[in-house]
Point group: C2
Chain length 348, copies 2
């Protein structure tokens, strides 16, 4: 239980005052080169590290960024967190993440825990930015924050334009010849992302001059894909030929459901995901999906946040960054079965 070295010991060993040692770490140019190097050498030699609590107390900055995500289990957020953490580390910040499990009440509690830990700012992935009580708390205490994957004109946001991405997916499917394109989503009420993607589906269908089909809304937690199953069990002329999934996890489930219904992908059903989580490309068939730049979203959000914290452009206007998505052309989409080939298959 040996005590760590303090700035004073280094100062004494160097024959200077504590102030000088402090400057070496915080404003190196204000110290003559040779003294600086001597002090650095001494510091290394003694394993000296400035005490973060003392520095935080004095400067009123913890150099810690709070992060709230729905869960670490979804690779989307895990990758995002990686982006946040690496960018933060680069700038000398640590990261303190908490999860809300997609639950509004927990969001509020989580934000408060972060606040109690004295974070300098937060990156938040909210269920719904229009009704998040925690935010007012942040504003009252004027703690900077940036939303990730959310959209809201009044706050800093970093994410993707889910709307137009889904429009493009519809276009692609249309180009392949699909006309009966359905969408499956988690509960729309549970996230603005899901709503945005669904809106994209509607617009896309309209632009493509196709009739949108009823949304298949499933409880994300429960693994019941019954609605989809009963849809897929309809005759080939009635069921959709393509399915747009609001996220990759749902796409995996849909793939499995299709298999269980005896439909082969992509011959009898095309499936497209949204998220681009890496595991999708390891599977057979490889998932076709919209690839979100999760890591970059985290990085950008962090950069933006640290700018806010540092006070550059204070009382700045809210900024929204929508990053470009990629597209993985996997093995789960193809042309829709024609009547002929369909009949042929039945005969066979």
């Amino acid at each position: 239980m040996n005590k760590p070295v303090s700035i004073l010991q280094i100062a004494q060993a160097a024959g200077v005052s504590a102030a000088t040692v402090s400057r070496v770490f915080n404003q190196p140019d204000k110290v003559r080169a040779d003294t600086r190097e001597m002090i650095i050498a001494l510091a290394n030699q003694h394993d000296y590290q400035p005490n973060s609590a003392a520095s935080a107390l004095r400067t009123q900055r913890s150099k810690i960024i709070g992060v709230m995500l729905p869960t670490f289990g979804n690779p989307v957020f895990a990758e995002c967190l990686e982006g946040i953490a690496s960018q933060a580390a680069e700038q000398g910040f640590g990261v303190m993440p908490v999860t809300s499990d997609y639950d509004s009440e927990r969001e509020t509690k989580a934000i408060n825990r972060l606040l109690a830990k004295g974070v300098d700012g937060m990156v938040l992935v909210l269920r719904d930015p229009t009704k998040a009580p925690g935010l007012s708390q942040l504003q009252k205490q004027s703690v900077p924050f940036v939303l990730a994957y959310n959209q809201h004109p009044k706050y800093h946001c970093v994410g993707v334009d889910g709307h137009s991405e889904v429009v493009r997916v519809v276009e692609r499917l249309r180009a392949l010849g699909h006309r009966k394109i359905a969408m499956i989503s988690g509960q729309l009420s549970a996230s603005d992302r899901a709503r945005q993607r669904y809106q994209g589906y509607l617009s896309g269908m309209q632009s493509a001059n196709l009739k949108p089909l009823a949304l298949i809304e499933v409880d994300f937690i429960a693994s019941d894909m019954l609605a989809l199953a009963s849809l897929l069990k309809q005759s080939a002329t009635k069921r959709p030929t393509a399915l747009i999934c609001s996220n990759d996890l749902l796409a995996f489930r849909s793939l499995r459901t299709a298999t269980q219904c005896g439909l082969s992908v992509p011959d009898s059903l095309s499936v497209v995901g949204f998220d681009g989580i890496k595991i999708g490309q390891e599977l057979s068939p490889m998932l076709t999906t919209v690839i979100q730049p999760n890591h970059d979203i985290g990085q950008w959000a962090t950069t933006l946040l640290i700018q806010s914290i540092s006070g550059h452009a204070r009382t700045q206007k809210p900024v929204t960054h929508n990053l470009e998505c990629g597209f993985r052309l996997g093995e789960t989409i193809g042309s829709p079965p024609t009547n002929r080939s369909h009949l042929a298959r039945d005969v066979f």
Copy 2:
């Protein structure tokens, strides 16, 4: 930029000393009930939160736990982190995670960053506990730590007994009739977990009176599964009938490789994973795998760590907890193809 309320303001508002307010938060029973409640009311009313930096400075405890993982992207560690974070939160601790990306040098740097942030202790997932330079640093500064998923007699460890779990897998496969059972793994040199599992394979084969096949060692980062592919392309009588994968990610790849080689699973090849990541059960075929209690591993490690931090049983002997694994009987294993059915297929 309104200043947060300090303990002094609450004290004045309540007509007591700062010490009393402090006691309300730290040793509530030492304060008369009515004064305590009055103070709590006042604190809430003013949104008072004890300043964590000040408290950390004074007590020399940050109430933050450092966590080092290879990556957040692997659901195994993401789930573990969730366990750590929830347990930590329960005990009033925050968590500060960093990733090492399976790289020894980064491990050392990451540990130092955590140290610089003044964490009270760490949960570590190391590449190899026998040669981790960072650990000596921790011991020198007597910062408590617990290893997760690693095994080492000299340190606190929480994990699973990969050895005997794999032995059991071999037994299962043997019971199904398999005799040519191969194992595929990431680089053994890259983790003691991989080595432990491989040893389990060897023991298991020996006990089952089977001849172990050469380990298929793949570079985990590169996606080359060539070695496996060439093995699977051999004639049915030469190639293995079952494949034990050292982790689930490898299992997914193996499944894909098998498909690409024209082998159907489980008819022509049985595949077993290790990890039990959740997505495995959403796929078709559902992955058969050993389920590690990742969340519990995180929880236990954290509990143990906080005990060490709190100084209960100081200079205690190192403890190792190996938690029980589960088993998911998915759709990727079955009896090996018999000669008869094999010939039949060839003829067809």
